[in-house]
Symmetry: C2
C-alpha cells in the first residue's frame, strides 16, 4: 500500500518513528507531519499565514516533509500538492496519550484522520494511553494489522477510525472492541498565577477523571485494558433533536 503518515506531536516524535519503522516493512510510506508539536490544536487550519515545507530524508528510508502548520494542513497539503499519488491509507500517530471521549474534539491526531475522511480517503488515528516510558510496539503492530484488514471493513468514504491502545504488555491487552466515543464531560481546572511584572496569567490544569462515566465507551473500555476502535465522521448534527425541532418556528 501507499501510506501517508502524519501526527500532531511533530515529525520528530518517537511515536511517529516507531509506526514508520513498522510500516516500511510492508508498505511504501511517506511522511508529511508538523515541524513542531501541535497537540490540542483540534481541527485548526492555517488561513492567514504562509505554510512552509521542508523536505526531510533520513537513513535512506524516511522520506517526507516537515510542515509549518497543523495536522489538518499536513493532510490537505500532502493530498492536493505534495504527493505524486493519492495514498491508499492515511495513518495519524502514534500519539503520546489517549484520544478518547470529548478529547476527540481537541485532538490534532484525530483531526488528521477526520481531514483525510473529508478528502474521501481511508484514515486511522492511533494513540497510546500513556505519557511516560511508552512502548509503541503493540500500537504499531495493531495499526499495521488494521491497515492490511482495511478493505475487508467496507467503510464508506467520510468515515475514519479512531484507535486507542492500552499501555500494557501485549499479552495483558484483552483484545480489541468497537465502541462509541464517551460524552461525559471531564472536570476543568485552571491555575491562576501572577508573573514577576504583576500580571495575571492562567495555566490550563491537568486532566482530571470524571466522578461517574455513563455507559460503556472508548473511555471505559480503554481503562479496562481493551484496544478501542471507534468509527468517526465529521457530522456534528444532532439528528434526533433536528427531527424533534423541525416544526418549532422561530420568526425573525
Amino acid at each position: 500500500m501507499n501510506i501517508l503518515l502524519t501526527n500532531d506531536d511533530g515529525i520528530l516524535a518517537p511515536g511517529l518513528l516507531a509506526l514508520h519503522e513498522r510500516l516500511i516493512q510492508d508498505h511504501q510510506v511517506q511522511v508529511v507531519a508538523p515541524e513542531m508539536e501541535q497537540s490540542a490544536v483540534g481541527h485548526a487550519i492555517t488561513l492567514v499565514d504562509p505554510i512552509r515545507i521542508k523536505p526531510i530524508s533520513r537513513n535512506g528510508r524516511f522520506f517526507g516533509y516537515a510542515v509549518s502548520g497543523t495536522p489538518a494542513d499536513c493532510v490537505k497539503l500532502a493530498v492536493t500538492e505534495l504527493l505524486a499519488v493519492k495514498p491508499d491509507l492515511i495513518l495519524s500517530g502514534i500519539n503520546l496519550g489517549a484520544n478518547v471521549g470529548l478529547n476527540l474534539l481537541y485532538s490534532g491526531t484525530v483531526s488528521a484522520a477526520t481531514e483525510a475522511a473529508i478528502l474521501g480517503l481511508p484514515a486511522l488515528a492511533v494513540s497510546l494511553n500513556t505519557f511516560f516510558n511508552p512502548d509503541f510496539t503493540p500500537a504499531a503492530e495493531f495499526a499495521a494489522r488494521a491497515a492490511v484488514l482495511w478493505p475487508e471493513l467496507g467503510l464508506p468514504p467520510g468515515v475514519s477510525l479512531n484507535v486507542n491502545i492500552p499501555a500494557l504488555p501485549r499479552e495483558k491487552i484483552k483484545g480489541a472492541v468497537w465502541t462509541r466515543q464517551c460524552l461525559t464531560p471531564f472536570p476543568e481546572t485552571f491555575t491562576r498565577r501572577i508573573d514577576p511584572r504583576g500580571n495575571v496569567y492562567y495555566w490550563r490544569g491537568e486532566d482530571k477523571k470524571p466522578e461517574h462515566v455513563n455507559g460503556l465507551s472508548d473511555y471505559t473500555h480503554l481503562a479496562q485494558g481493551y484496544i478501542t476502535i471507534t468509527p468517526i465522521k465529521p457530522d456534528l448534527t444532532d439528528h434526533l433533536e433536528l427531527s424533534r425541532l423541525k416544526n418549532h418556528n422561530i420568526t425573525l
Copy 2:
C-alpha cells in the same frame, strides 16, 4: 438573562460589538473573547502556553476580558474562573462569513458553542453569510429572539445551536429553517510560491463551491435565502457504522 458573549474574530470585531449593542437592551452581558483574530482555529485549546487576560471596559457598558487564547479557551476560562455567576446562555459571534457544512469542523465560532455545550450550558453560534459590507442588524435581532425563546426549545445539555444568517435585507430573508450540516466536501486549493530567498511556501486558496451538493442542508438553505438553525453536539461516533462493525473482529 446573564449572557456570555464570545467569538473567534477577536474582541474588537464589529460583529461582536453589534451583537453586544443589541443584547444589552434586554440582558446582562459579559464579554470574554480572544484578544486577536482566531478564525479557523477549530476546537483548539491552549496547553503549553500561559493564557493571559486583560480586563476591558468601554463606554461604561461594555465589560469583559480579552484572552490570549482560542474561543474554546475563552469559554472554559470564563465559566470556570472569570465569571462570578454561570451564564444562562453563551452566544458566539456574529461571525463574518457563514459557518456551514464541513467548515463547522474548522470554525472557532462554532467551537465556542460546542465548548459551552460540553460544559452543560446553552449556546448559540451566529454567523453572517458575507465578508464584505456586513449589516449585522438582522443577525443580532435573530440572536436576541432565539435567546428569549431558548427555554421553549427544550434542548438537552450537550446540544447547542449553529445559526447562519443570509446577507440580505430583513424583508428579503425567507424565514428560518431547522436543517442538517452539509457533508459534501468542498474543493481544496493551495497556491505555491517562492519567497525572495528561494524557499517554497503555500497559501491556502479561497473556498471554492462544490459542483454538486447532496440534498437539503445548511449550505443549500442558506444559499436560498433562509436563516439556518442546526442542533449540534460533540459526538463524532458514526453509530450506524458502529452497529455494523460490532462483530468484525480485529486481533492483535
